[in-house]
Amino acid sequence: MTQNTQAPAPRTAPGSATAAPRGLVDVRRRPSSWTGLWFVLPFLAFYAVFLLWPAIVGFGYTFTDRSLAGGDVSFIGLDNWSESLTDSDMYDSLWNTLWFTILSVPLMVLLALGMALLTDHARRLGWFLRLSFFAPFVLPVTVMTLIWGWMYNPSLGLFNGTLGRFGIEGPEWLFSEDTAMFSVVIATAWWQVGFNYLLYLAAMQSIPKDVYEAAAIDGAGVWQRIGRITLPMLTRTTALITVLQLIGSLRVFEQIYLMTSGGPNFATRTVIQYIYDSGFVGLRIGLASSMAYVFMVLIIIASVAQFRLFSRKEG
């Protein structure tokens, strides 16, 4: 409860920022000099070496038959590109990635909203709810997958053991093509929903309290207050969370790789894993790079489209 009442002084600065955003160019800026560049330089150096350079070099690889095992490298034109664009395994992994995204985004937005609403209303439990809902987010991916792999264990795990108590034979979870993706999505939601929850919670706490008081005086019940005040005022936050979750879900790899290795029968192999498999297992750097570029372009298109949609709503 004390969290809300205590508004530390510096916080007013960002508050006023959102009220009057500055453009990229500021009129009051001092005349041009080299000083600014010195400050920007260290970041630029890292950016150039570890991001731009690999991106350029990777693009170069796509036209070669370079192997991670070494050996002669020769220029092979667009062969890698045509191979990755016609490869049915590539499309399968793209579909798996998309399917994961379709399943996880709505779930992780709605769950976060529900949790934040509960926390916002059940204030006396605040610390306990924040602890429970956010704690999984700080777990290393391996810890998460170890725990869930153990619970999902078809014959010895908690889930099927509990179901067995009621005479129900549980599913195979991660070991069946039909259920593996759902199982991964559930575990991912448990693990990562905490961040969306936090964003929702922060947004809810910034809604002015007098709005609710006025509504309460007018006799609005809890549901009316949620439906007529909270949700409408969260529209921007919801859009933001959806965009971030979408981009995050499209980049999925680690937890699936650790839980199923992409199986059973490649039913959960994602694009990133396919890139990894081609480059680091198949040792074909060129092919892996062209796949990476196909995927990067798709992600950038999706991100830009989402951000445009989102900023239009905002404006």
Binding site: Q3, T5, R11, A13, P14, S16, R22, V25, D26, T35, G36, L37, W38, F39, P42, F43, L44, Y47, F50, P54, V57, Y61, L118, A122, L125, W127, R130, S132, F133, A135, P136, V138, P140, T142, V143, L146, I147, W150, S155, L156, L158, R165, W190, L198, L199, L201, K209, Y212, E213, L240, F253, E254, L258, I275, G279, F280, A288, S289, A292, M296
Partner: protein
């Protein structure tokens, strides 16, 4: 919980100093409130089940871990599994590796992002808009798509299986430059004008004026960089082969095979792997929530 606590002035409203409103307040738990609290408490408990189950398994003797139907409490609770895992020594080694690389990443990220954001926020220079656009464009590139050329680069630099090799490629975070610049932009220039009149140079202004005013956002960026770097799996997984150099997530992922079907040990190692950041989270809980409110964007 506290059914004995009488007045439930459901404070949808702020400070305790506010005069009691004229609206009649319910003084007892209403049915709705009881239902709400029950649902909330149950949801939180359900959400804790995986953690509790991991812990419950980790303190069982191995023989009891596979008893069906599962039992939560063992009468023969033991720390044997922890002793076995710790005796191998590698978990501690990986924790140290994670700690070293994470500190490098966090410190470097904060320093170069703050400097860049300050440069972009307060100075004009040739090529500034183009450079800023270039950096912002980097937000769109998924780092995972660069693993192959990054690995080749690290091989050429001889940084495979080194702390720098693990840390350096994780340092570049264009999104933090963006967030910090937005925050710095919002700090009124009048504050610095006074300092500048006193003869403070740009570095001094950054250190004595800007940074103290930016504490919440710096804490948030720091915490999220720390969590991200600590939990990063893919890059450390690729750039380390030597088990001695692995970070905690990578080490746990590759070593579990050795434990075979000793589930208590597997869960004990999971719990050990969870503890460092759970502690960080408990210590910084408040800052995480307020920081997100200030930043509003994922790293």
């Amino acid at each position: 919980m506290a059914t004995s606590t009488p007045p439930v002035a459901r404070t949808a409203q702020g400070p305790a100093t506010t005069p009691r409103p004229t609206v009649p307040r319910r003084r007892r738990w209403s049915v709705g409130a009881v239902a709400l609290y029950t649902v909330a408490a149950l949801a939180a408990l359900v959400w804790l089940v995986p953690l509790l189950w991991a812990f419950a398994t980790s303190v069982k003797p191995e023989g009891e871990t596979t008893v069906m139907p599962p039992t939560w409490l063992s009468e023969n609770a033991t720390l044997e599994a922890y002793a076995s895992v710790l005796a191998r020594g590698d978990v501690l080694r990986w924790t140290m590796n994670s700690f070293i690389t994470t500190v490098i990443v966090t410190v470097l990220t904060l320093v170069i992002c703050v400097l860049a954001a300050y440069g972009f926020s307060r100075f004009d220079f040739r090529g500034r808009p183009a450079l800023f656009a270039l950096i912002i464009g980097g937000i769109l590139i998924p780092p995972q798509t660069l693993i192959v050329p990054q690995f080749v680069l690290m091989t050429q630099l001889g940084l495979v299986d080194t702390y720098w090799g693990i840390a350096l490629p994780q340092v570049v975070a264009p999104v933090f430059v963006f967030i910090l610049k937005r925050f710095f932009d919002a700090i009124p220039r009048d504050y610095e004008d006074a300092a500048r009149l006193d003869g403070a140079g740009p570095v001094r202004v950054l250190w004595s004026v800007i940074l103290p005013l930016s504490r919440p956002i710096l804490t948030a960026v720091g915490i999220f960089t720390f969590i991200g770097a600590w939990n990063n799996f893919l890059w450390p997984f690729i750039v380390t082969n030597d088990p001695e150099m692995m970070t905690l997530p990578v080490g746990l992922g590759t070593a579990v095979g050795q434990y075979g079907i000793q589930y208590a040990q597997v869960m004990a190692s999971a719990v050990l792997g969870a503890i460092p950041l759970l502690v960080v989270f408990l210590l910084f809980q408040r800052h995480i929530v307020t920081g997100v409110a200030g930043a509003g964007i994922k790293g």
